[in-house]
Symmetry: D2
């Protein structure tokens, strides 16, 4: 995570200020629950809330931690400085540091998930708009990078929409995976604290109580969460790769937006680099690389070891900040992508009708020509196109053996692009619920 | 995937026989749909079903492929040999090889998912049984590999149950991810085949039509599928690691089942190795390693390139066969795990009550002793235990300063294991829906 | 590893026959060393060699293993059946199964490395030949997929040569990493066997003794080995990606070899798919995915646990067989790649000289034109090329402001391709040691 | 990379100040070389060096970049502000931004490598010291976590030494991999700059010229570099795992250093957590996760795309800073590890001599007892130890059938620890070059 690839809202989730604020809320809500149980005095619980609007002093907490060597104790000490030692003396009672730390981490991940969900929704809106805009913009479909049959740019956007819509659904599942909290003590037995405290705190924080925890919330949840980020990042790469291909000099069916005044663009108009989508390709690699450490974090020793912690202190912010940035950047790219329908047509016609050769072959056999003869007829005309630069349809219309089997109208019909786009509405209805 | 780590049902899904059988069903159902549309004659569609009970001759198909260099054509040729050339002439009409191959792959993955779901259900049953069996078997909970507070073996099994139950839910989601089929043509436009054919075939095969495909079904689905296998494998490692720890000589709280008669065991009774769970640890690494290639498969070029194919020909069978084997092996290990409750107690008492020092500390402060004094009192008695091998409770009872603050009954109570197990029923109710 | 992506020599290394043959040699050489020490009778050591030319009966060994549940004992039993029980009674004395298994694995990896080294040498020869063949074949260099400045196809081959030459060097280092053997007993102390036995066996097998082993050879060696395979696989992907780009319809600067008679090619001459290089891209993903499990294998517990074994039983064959196949396939692709120099020139001129705009800009400023004016001059002519399809050089020669600063000869010179190729010999000399 | 897991020297390598300083040096040396060629005036080259001792103003450069949107231009503009516009006008002539950026990245990696090499040397010194200190400290060797045969703590340190010594060698190779520079222009043809400039700059920076580059230095080099960091990180995990095992409550053969006064330690003397080595385990996962993105960076499109850049901006600092921190932390842990030889002996005797059962078995057969009888004899005495808590040697000495075959002296000898340590000197000589 570096500033260059970061956005402030996501970064803020991982700031010390946010962290201490969540710690505070957990402690305060826990005090309420303890007071309700009669474990601690009501007035002490209420006293904690006097710090409700206080900005915690991160530097001061760090200062205390430098002495106590314990972050939670440092925070509690600072809290006591604010609300009074006496008032603070029941704060954290019966709790373990992990209760606070693990629940906080999940609150942060939930908030990060909410941003990512909003990012995906924004991306979906852009993709949908561009899909309808280019619903009928014909371009050649390619398998293996080679011209196959016509499709439309709208279908390209639509399939990315469908893919990102699945990712939205996966992201919501991933959010649910980590929307749990635990206040269950040193080994998860609630020996020193009643389960109702956990229930109250989780309820207030928008979490559900972890059904069974140890000292920590089980890490298969986080593994599933980060694996989902890896899938989404790979989809980002998928769209980015398509755009990079479209922008390459020989294809030039689209370009990342380039402001008119931008220096360098007009003296070298051919040299507009798809640097944003290339960058997205790299960011996808980064997020993907964090999946493995998250998976390796699952097998902790007994009721917990702390090996997961250093991993999560890094990939927690890094993966969410990077993916947030990538989704936002991709949304901008999609939104402003400059599409060149004329080049799309020109590319499709690069080989003067040859992409229709398969349809002609089929038509001949359906007209009763043997498979071998049909093949021979198509081949000899295709070769004239390929080697001599002729036009395929013109050659077919001039080939007596071909016209003996197919009328000129039938031949013309094989080159009708409408044949390929006739089901676009059907597909749009499937994807968007409406054509 | 090697025989040593394979089970026959899962292997069978990936056999050529199974593959050709699915190909056949796709082609036959597609013919029905084409006939219903009036595209091909009804009698030709019916003729295809005459091969319904035929075992396809894999060697013969290979022989044909050696000539045609095309697997689908080889199969269709063989099919024509069985049902007659004339009858077969409309088979595959309007379809693309990928329509058959991709839909087949998903049928195989769905079947594999069904086995994995059954595996997980079997594992859950074993974990639940052992959890109730050892619900009250007290053992020491450990953080950082160090004794912390008591818990029970039942809770250990219960947390693995909860984790695997989440995995069951993830596996069902993963199954839904890849339970789609596509018969949409060379670039997914249905140019040469009506969408109703896809709908009919998918319906018959238990799939849903892919809303929008290109030449292939989008690979984010498969990425999510294999990522889920990676999460489950990591949970397998988690349980395996716990058992490996329990079996190590110094701990010996449990052992993988070892048949009485097994040679070597009784001459070296100390040397029973947890080889099954070590093996499971390795298998988890294998499955996890396949997540990255699956994620890299998402970004195909344009309407498809074939780079994903070699990956999937390997990880399709490898990941599912390995995980199936691992889950089954783990179920056996859990089912027959030899648990040693006496050793659990002995281990817990290794430091003669010291694990209760925190409770005593807390009790002293609650009894009005200052934090510093309480600490000093606990410390001086703890040191006698640690350095001189004394018993903690005995020392406390003999310490006048301690007994000035706490009655013998109060001291005794701090060593009551019931304090730690009082919420086991609550937790079981959360995990299993009943205590 | 599946037959489709395998070559027989590499597969043979991993056959049971090969494995048992290496076991035999280790045991026989160990007997020699033991006899030399006087630990066992010379005649018994000699007797072992009577099996020198015997093919071991794998089915028989499997049969015995089904009873003994121990592979090494099964083999030794079978060996005794061949050379006589009495003669065999000192075989394996003082040794541990791991001594045989681990040393054998390394022998197999060394042999695999030798094949991979030969593969790389073959690939290098092909790359070098093609580099010299196309040393002066000018094509446009591209950054970001966008035309930049001219280069030559020979330089493209040369840089792949240099990269694969580095891989050859890495592969030799990787071979050295795992060319060790260990016959050091249950925990590596040589308690039951003299170190000289290890030295003798290693010497005979072309290995060096592992300086310090536990029950196993340390796995950082294997991690480094498989990581190297991952690097080489990524280089395979690098070359494959270049070729896939060159073959795409709009670029078409080269094609994978396609036999004239191959059906389908001439009726759809535009549809020749780079399936081999796409396949190589997938194979690279597979090999890369095996790096992580190999790295995870390093941290075994104490003097060994067996978690690495299931990983290596898979990735040992899989990674080496896949990379061998990939290197051989790539060599064929490079060797027979059909290169289209005319298309290269045509592509370079796609924008009628615009790629030279930067040189013109520089020339103008060097001729004393201010940066702003030079930019304006280049821009207005570039725009005519870009928007009106004019030729850049023609426009410049017709622009009075330009010709006021530069003579026609100077302008002509800016479009001279020799400017870009003048250091090709220098670079070739650096790469190949000669121009 | 977060401050918590960072050390200042390594962090400094990745600061903007360091980066600009290297940029400056490259530009200044390039000017010298250009002047020597007569391409630019000598006085301009000399003028550049007037900034030799200037601290570049990072904020000012950022300010300029905010306008120019180009980092290298921003720097050059700032440089001109310092040395004068006129003097600066030949700086960077003929060069491409990548020439500066890529060469700088390699300079940074080389410096990082130098720190990592020093780290490894420090770790090796600590391991060697501890190895000799505990050369004869006997402990039980364990396979599968189960007692096997005796070894010594010195051998444990020695094998980690040997492993890290291999890593030192790998790190030196990795340093050589990326110790290259390139000043070869937009596509690597030296069209606009003479190769001698590259040679001069590289020479001054301690690099060798990249034999053939494109716009960038080939990324297989960096892949190999980061893969090596992944191997080393896995070795860190290996040592950390051993220590974590040694410190667990039931084993307690060693502990991470714990200062006497540290609060909490003496009231709960059993609760000293191996948090440093657990942390190292997590850090190893992080570094390992960066290997895959580095491998994915190899296959750039044509003469470069910029996808690698965002990856490297992260993993460049992250991997080196994390590994530096980990190696330093591990060195501290090894250096101060508290070793408990008495516990080692106590653990070894946990099963009262049973670990010697195999030696006894062998001795009996060598004394002429049949394999079956020997097994029966060992078994019946072993069972008394295992089930009744007897001492193995005592039982054997009291078993008439055993003493019929072996004298008391022979039985005693089987329990002699010297048998197991007799080759420690040999192994030390192999590892350290001297016993």
């Amino acid at each position: 995570m570096i500033p260059r690839y970061s956005r402030p809202d996501m970064v803020a989730i991982w700031s010390p200020e946010t962290k201490f604020r969540i710690w505070y809320e957990i402690e305060a809500h826990a005090c309420d629950a303890q007071a309700a149980l009669g474990v601690i005095p009501k007035e002490n619980a209420e006293a904690v809330w006097t710090a409700r609007d206080v900005e915690f002093d991160v530097a001061r907490i760090d200062e205390i931690e430098a002495v106590t060597k314990h972050d939670v104790i440092a925070f509690l000490t600072h809290l006591a400085e604010i609300i009074g030692n006496d008032e603070a003396r029941f704060v954290h009672q019966g709790m373990t540091s992990s209760d606070v730390l693990d629940t906080t981490f999940n609150v942060q991940l939930v908030r990060a998930a909410d941003i990512l969900i909003a990012d995906l929704e924004g991306l979906l809106a852009a993709l949908k708009r561009r899909a309808y805009e280019h619903k009928d913009t014909v371009r050649i479909g390619r398998s293996h990078g080679i011209h196959a049959e016509p499709t439309t740019m709208g279908l390209t956007f639509a399939r990315f929409y469908a893919e990102m819509d699945r990712n939205l659904s996966r992201m919501r599942d991933a959010r649910a995976e980590i929307a749990t909290g635990a206040i269950s003590g040193a080994v998860g037995t609630f020996a020193n604290i009643d389960p109702s405290v956990e229930e109250h705190v989780c309820d207030k924080l928008g979490l559900v109580p972890e059904p069974i925890s140890t000292q920590v919330i089980p890490r298969d949840r986080h593994a599933a969460f980060f694996a989902t980020l890896g899938v989404i990042a790979s989809s980002v790469e998928n769209i980015a790769t398509e755009i990079r291909h479209m922008q390459r000099t020989e294809v030039l069916e689209a370009e990342e937006f380039f402001s008119k005044g931008q220096k360098g663009s007009s003296a070298m108009p051919h040299k507009r680099n798809p640097v944003l989508t290339e960058n997205l390709t790299g960011l996808a690699r980064l997020v993907r690389g964090m999946v493995i450490p998250a998976l390796e974090n699952v097998a902790l020793w007994h009721e917990r070891d702390i090996s997961h912690s250093s991993v999560e202190r890094n990939i927690g912010p890094d993966a969410t900040v990077t993916l947030d940035f990538a989704l936002a950047r991709l949304t901008g790219v999609v939104d402003k992508l400059v599409v060149y329908p004329e080049t799309m047509l020109a590319n499709m016609h690069k080989f003067r009708g040859l992409v229709m050769s398969q349809r002609v072959l089929l038509a001949l056999t359906q007209a009763g020509v043997s498979r071998e003869d049909a093949y021979r007829l198509v081949q000899r005309n295709a070769m004239k196109v390929w080697e001599e630069g002729k036009d395929f349809k013109t050659e077919l219309l001039a080939d007596a053996e071909v016209t003996a089997a197919l009328t000129p109208e039938q031949i013309e019909e094989k080159f009708d692009l409408g044949y390929h786009t006739k089901h676009v509405d059907t597909i749009f209805a499937r994807v968007f619920g409406e054509a």
